[in-house]
Every structure is written in C-alpha cells, then in structure tokens.
C-alpha cells in the first residue's frame, strides 16, 4: 500500500462502495427468497474488479457499458441504492428502464452508463462505437465495456476488439473472468488459459490482473485509460475473480462446482481482505469502519423501503418511447 498513488479518501470510498454493493446484493437475495423480487443477478465476489476499474475512470464523463454482473460498478459510477432497488422491483421511477427491463440491465444517461441488453458481447461493439465518436469529436472521453469470459466466445467480442484496434479507439475491454458462464467452465469456452492472450491477435496489450485486489485493478485500468487518451488505442484487461453465489436466483451452482472450490475462493473474499488491509495499514480506523457499516445498513434499508413504496408503472405507458415523436 505504501507504493500507492491513491489518497486515503479514495481507498475508503472504494471499500465503502464494495461493502455497500455486497450488502445490497445480500438484501436483494432476501427479497427474492421472500417472494418480493422475481429475480436477482449478483455482483457477489466481483466487487473489487468493478469498483477498482470504475474509480480509475473519469466517472460520469467517460462511458461505461456494463453487463448484468456489474452492480458494484454502477454504484461506483454514481447510481444510488434507491435507484438500484427501483430497478429490482420494476418501479415506474427506475432510471435504468422505467420498469421495462429485467434486473441488472443497467443504464443511466446522467452518469454515462449506456443501456444494456441481454445478448452477451453486444455491448463490446457499443463501447467501440462510443469511442469512435470520441475520436471523431475529440471529446477526450474513454469508454469501457465489461463482460464475462463466456461472452468472449461471441463473434461480436472479436469484432469489437478488432475494430477498436484497427482504428486505435479510446476504449477499454474489461473481462471479469470468474471461470464460469453459468455452468460451463472456462476450459469449455476456450482452448487457452487466459482471455488476455487473445489481445495479441488484435494488436493491443492484454493485461492479467488479480480481480480480487481493487487497487491493482485500479492501477491497470488507469494505465489503460491514459493510453487510450494518448491516442494509443484499446487495452484488454482480464481480471481473474470468482462469483460466490449462483449465476442468478434461479440457478443452483451445486450442480456444477464443488463446495470446496467455493470455500477456497472465499478465503480471498475481496470485501473482507480489503477491509483487513485498510485496517492493518491504518488507512481506515475501527471507528470509521463501524460508521461505514451503520451507514450501509441505513442506506440499504432506506433503498428497500423507498422502492417498495414507489409506484408501479401505469399500463397506459406501455406505448411510450417506441419512437422519439
């Protein structure tokens, strides 16, 4: 931590956002098991890669194009817990979609989070396109797409990286490699060990980073963003991480991975290890931690209550926004 070029405030904000994401995530599962939320997609286990990368960008100005796993990322990018819960419960004021999309289909124009669909890797080309506009308009923005390793089997992953490299676009491709595409392990997804190795074939740097260390993720993302802003083109980052829960609230991961494997990864739980690090290195005091924990509890309770009381969409709005006019 001594080598860090980061202020204690930023490190604490990182921790807070990771812990907030975990707490919101846990609450969403409870709501699901109580029959109050139809489906949940989790960031549980991915908090370090999501928060570390998001905080390395010019948040709210640079574009992010997330995927369904990215709860912690959108929180780091300025979506509020209330907005997350409005989305989960399909409320009219959900700023992601007005209750139209399934949970975890993020999009928030105010913070430059592009709306996302369900077909994986479609977002990769969108990020390249945002970056194409930045290059033409010289607006100084960087774009970042994030995605699981399963989606790197898609043609559009290849097309996006190739297009971006040829045109030296200011874009970052962030792979959150948790080893599984629902039940299918990475070894059935590709015949190589590392997603990052694919970068060489496109003529861009491919960087492997410990996805459970937010500081390391921050550093490689900041470097990729600098590179993009200097006009040197895209970077592929592969953050090795793990998801601690099933793919969704409808999945059962006992069918495809052992409890021992999950327990082994949990020893490196990014929220717990980062908390310990900040305490050990005296970046954060025990008092501060307590305050954070209370604040998180309050925020999650507030968000839940707020969203549950919020109005559902009026059926008459079904016809809105098919076209601009």
């Amino acid at each position: 931590m001594a080598t860090l070029n980061m202020t204690p405030e930023l490190l604490k904000e990182m921790y807070y956002t990771m812990a907030l994401s975990r707490a919101l995530d846990d609450r969403m599962w409870i709501l699901n098991r109580q029959g109050r939320a139809p489906v949940v997609y989790s960031a549980n286990g991915h908090e370090a890669v999501q928060v570390g990368s998001a905080m390395a960008l010019n948040r709210g100005e640079d574009w992010i194009v997330p995927y369904y796993r990215d709860l912690a990322m959108v929180l780091a990018y300025g979506m509020t817990p209330r907005e997350v819960m409005l989305h989960l419960l399909g409320r009219a004021d959900d700023p992601n979609s007005g209750g139209r999309q399934m949970p975890a289909h993020w999009g928030l124009k105010r913070r430059h989070i592009l709306t996302t669909g369900s077909v994986v890797a479609t977002q990769d080309v969108h990020a390249a396109g945002l970056a194409l506009a930045s290059k033409v308009l010289k607006d100084g923005r960087v774009s970042m797409a994030s995605f699981g390793e399963g989606s790197t089997s898609q043609g559009e992953f290849h097309e996006a990286l190739n297009f971006a490299a040829v045109h030296k676009l200011p874009v970052i491709f962030l792979n959150e490699n948790n080893g599984y595409a629902i039940s299918v392990p990475a070894r059935k997804q590709m015949a190589i060990m590392d997603v990052a190795a694919k970068a060489q074939g496109y003529g861009m740097p491919g960087v492997i980073v410990d996805g459970n260390d937010p500081v390391k993720v921050y550093e490689v993302t900041a470097e990729a963003a600098d590179r993009a802003r200097r006009g040197e083109g895209p970077t592929l980052i592969e953050a090795k991480t793990y998801r601690f829960v099933p793919h969704s609230s409808d999945d059962d991961d006992r069918a495809y991975r052992s409890r021992e494997e999950v327990a082994e990864w949990k020893k490196r739980d990014p929220v717990i290890t980062f908390e310990k690090r900040l305490l050990d290195e005296k970046v954060m005091t025990a008092e501060e931690l307590k305050t954070f924990q209370q604040r998180i509890k309050d925020e999650v309770n507030d968000a839940t209550d707020f969203a549950e009381k919020a109005a559902l969409p009026d059926p008459a709005t079904l016809w809105r926004y098919v076209y601009a006019d």
């Binding site: 574009w63 959900d94 080309v125 390249a128 945002l130 194409l132 308009l137 774009s143 996006a160 040829v166």
Partner: protein
C-alpha cells in the same frame, strides 16, 4: 432543375447533408477510397476526410454495433451495408439493440442512425446479391423502413432519415441506381417518412407498391391505358410506418387493389397492406385483393431463365392488372 440518376441523388444528398452537419459520418466496407462497390460514396472521403468517411473492417455486426455507440455519443452515423443480403450478421444489433434502446431505456437514450443498403434483383446477383430483406425489419417496432422509387424521393427521404432521431433502414434498389433518372432540386428538402405518394391517378384499379416496382407499374399502366384500363399507382415510399390513410383512400376510390413487391409473397408487406384494406375498406371493394410478389423460394437464382422466372416484371404486372380490371 438538374436531372440526376437515382444513385447520384443519393450521393449528392449525402454530400449536402454532410456539409451541413459535421456530426454525420459514413462508414462500411469499401466506402472510402473506392467510393463503394456501386460508387454511391465516390469522392466523399476526398472531400470530408478519413475521419468522416471510414473504410471499416469487414464485419457487419461491428459496423452497426459501433454505429449505435457512435450515435449515442453524439454523431449521426450513416453506415452502409454493401448488399442488403449481408445485413443478417447485424440483425441482432438492428432488431434487439438499435430498435429497442429508446424503449428499454424509457426514453433516455436514442439512436439516430441510418443504415443504407442496396437491395433487389435482376442484375445477375444470385442468392446473396439480390434479396429484398425489408419485411424482416418492417415487422419491428422501433425501426423505420424507407424505400424510395425516384431520384426526387431518394433525396427527400434520405435527408429525412438522416435528420430523424430514430434508426432508419434506407433500402436502395440496385437496378434503379443508373436506370432511373429524374429532376432533383438543388436546395435541401425533406419528404416526411410515412407519407405515401400517388404516382399516377386512375379510375379502374389501384396498384400499391414501392421501390423499383413503381417504375415497372408505371410502364404497365401505360400499356393498359391503351387498352382503356385506367390504373392508379400508390408508391408507399416507407413500409414502416405505412401510410394507412392513403392506402385506404386509393382502395376506396378504385375498388380494386393489386399489391406488388419483389420480396417473397408470404409474410411480405403485401399481407399487411391487404389486411388493412380488408379490415377498414372491405365493403368498398369490387374484387378480391390481389398480390403479385416474388415467389416463395429461398432466394433469386443466378442463371438468366431462373432469374427472370423469379423477377416481377412490367409484363407480369400488366397481366395481373388486366385480370383484376376484368373481374
């Protein structure tokens, strides 16, 4: 007023709109140095530079997908798909992304995007250089589908498409590029998308059609006029949205309707037009609605006799219209 080919009208409109709006960029396969395989974008890279007229990698999903991102971030992309037949790798990006982004974001995001693509047969293009693909996209709320038949319409509709806030598919019949000529005003103008055009007034029957088939229908109407049959021709110009009002007006006026398109019969736009008339003007009809369309075979074959057998021609239109007139 200058006389231009259909192709020149499209090129000059692109040039004029690009001069007017710095946000417009063009890209696709071979559109830059080569000016497109049909030369539609010839000279544009020279005038506007490589930043605005871009030779892109050969990957349709990336061409459309990046155009979506670029549109969101402030540009007005006008990508070209080299042949409409090649649009299918980008189908998901068009149908599930571009068309839905406004809806799924509850009006927060929009995709002002024009996808240009040459379509249609009769040029020995065989299965993969001849298709009419418009019905796939006309089915999709969130998209607009425009198909001009004359140089004048090509200009006004392209300008309207570029200025539109939503994704527009702009299909150009490749056999019309050089064969159809007409007067085109120098000044900028738009033709609102969704307005059909009465290309020829008549009394005995109405032909409702679009694209290249408009000129084929006009030829048929001239032949039939000599036989004392008066044919009205309604050019749809856009097949999504459809101009329901004008469709019903012409159906009620003549009482006999022949719908013509080169696209396959089943699931083609003729079925939709026919249903509209049946729902709203059935008792004004004097004969069953008739459709003349490309046959239900997978695509247009190469060898001339086979290609000719597939194509809808002036002769086939004349024959069908004569039959309908005599009903």
């Amino acid at each position: 007023m200058a006389v231009m080919s259909y192709l020149e009208a499209i090129r000059e409109t692109l040039r004029q709109e690009m001069r007017h709006d710095q946000r417009i960029i063009i890209y696709g396969e071979d559109v830059g140095v080569r000016g497109g395989v049909f030369r539609v974008t010839e000279g544009l890279q020279k005038e506007f530079g490589e930043d605005r007229v871009i030779d892109s990698p050969l990957a349709e999903a990336a061409i459309i997908g990046t155009a979506i991102g670029a549109a969101v971030n402030g540009l007005r992309p006008v990508p070209e798909i080299q042949f409409a037949d090649f649009i299918f790798p980008a189908f998901n990006q068009i149908v599930q992304e571009a068309a839905r982004i406004r809806y799924r974001s509850n009006g927060e995001f929009g995709v002002p995007l024009v996808i240009r693509a040459p379509f249609g047969g009769g040029v020995h293009g065989a299965l993969y250089h001849s298709q009419s693909v418009e019905a796939f996209f006309a089915h999709v709320p969130g998209l607009k589908v425009v198909i001009p038949s004359t140089p004048y319409d090509a200009k006004g509709l392209l300008a309207a498409a570029i200025q539109d806030e939503d994704p527009v598919l702009y299909f150009e019949h490749k056999a019309a590029y050089r064969s159809i000529k007409g007067e085109v005003p120098e000044e900028r103008y738009i033709i609102p998308i969704g307005k059909a055009d009465l290309k020829r007034p008549g009394k005995d029957l109405s032909i409702i059609t679009y694209g290249l088939m408009v000129s084929y229908a006009q030829k048929a109407a001239e032949t039939l006029e000599k036989e004392g049959i008066s044919v009205e021709i309604l050019d749809l110009r856009s097949i999504r949205p459809l101009d329901v009002e004008m469709i019903l007006e012409t159906a009620k006026r003549t009482g006999k309707v022949l719908i013509v398109h080169e696209d396959n019969l089943t699931g083609g736009i003729g079925g939709e037009v026919s249903a509209l008339i049946a729902e709203h003007a059935l008792f004004d009809l004097d004969a069953p609605i008739m459709r003349l369309a490309g046959p239900d075979v997978p695509a247009m074959p190469y060898s001339p006799p086979l290609e000719h057998a597939f194509m809808v021609t002036s002769d086939k239109i004349t024959e069908a219209a004569r039959k309908l007139a005599k009903f």
